[in-house]
């Protein structure tokens, strides 16, 4: 099981912080095919039904970036006899960091993307303006 916080700048390479299958937490780059490439370490903690993942300042996140959490469970063999699935993936909406951190004001036409694999950046041409 991996838990990934995907951080996308207005342009350029997406970054991510991930609690990996071995329980360690890493910083890295994130590609459109959900590929994570580790570049450093971070901190993560799971307590009960809550996971907290630290995004270091060195990642350089600002309020015009977007953020999404993606959870993926994989196995070497299908999970069920009646389904071909060797994994499952679920993700939160892709939302503006400024929204969530409270330093930008959401408007009624501020877009939210809601697909796990939706990496289109054109949906973010009108990210929330600073409050």
């Amino acid at each position: 099981m991996t838990q990934t916080v995907v951080l996308r700048p207005p342009s350029g390479q997406a970054q991510a912080v991930q609690i990996q299958a071995d329980g360690t937490t890493a910083v890295g780059t994130y590609s459109d095919n959900r590929a994570f490439a580790r570049t450093g370490d971070s901190e993560g903690r799971i307590v009960g039904n809550v996971a907290v993942i630290h995004v270091p300042a060195s990642v350089g996140v600002t309020s015009d970036w977007t953020v999404q959490a993606i959870v993926e469970v994989t196995a070497d063999a299908p999970f069920h006899r009646n389904r071909p699935a060797t994994g499952y993936v679920a993700g939160t909406s892709i939302a503006s960091v400024g929204w969530l951190a409270g330093d930008a004001q959401a408007t009624s036409d501020t877009p939210i993307a809601d697909r796990v694999d939706d990496t289109r950046t054109d949906r973010w041409s009108g990210t929330a303006a600073a409050a």
Binding site: M1, Q3, V5, V17, Q20, A21, D22, G23, T24, I46, V47, G48, N49, V50, A51, V52, I53, H54, V55, P56, A57, S58, V59, V61, V67, A69, V71, E72, V73, T74, F79, H80, R83, P84, A85, T86, G87, Y88, V89, A90, G91, T92, S93, A95, V97, W99, L100, A101, A106, I112, D114, R115, V116, D117
Partner: protein
């Protein structure tokens, strides 16, 4: 168990849990009884770390999830 995804302060949206076959998302939404409970992600918040800089992402699930660490030491995987 389906995973509704909720962004705090935003709108409840999301596809639920999608099936993956050999690393590729198939577009098939997981059936309620099939998907692992670990995918029951319900809430996501993202807050600035006032002390050390950066941010903290907080993921809340409907059920407890398994941690692969014991005392800070990886114990599975």
């Amino acid at each position: 168990m389906l995973a509704g995804s909720l962004v705090l302060g935003g709108t409840v949206v999301g596809d639920g849990s999608l099936e993956v076959v050999d690393g590729a998302i198939t577009r098939e939404t997981a059936r309620f009884d099939d998907a692992p409970s670990e995918l029951s992600l319900r809430m996501f918040t993202f807050v600035p770390d006032r002390d050390g800089g950066g941010y903290s992402a907080v993921l809340r699930y409907r059920v407890p999830i398994v941690s692969c660490t014991s005392g800070g030491v990886p114990s599975c995987g």
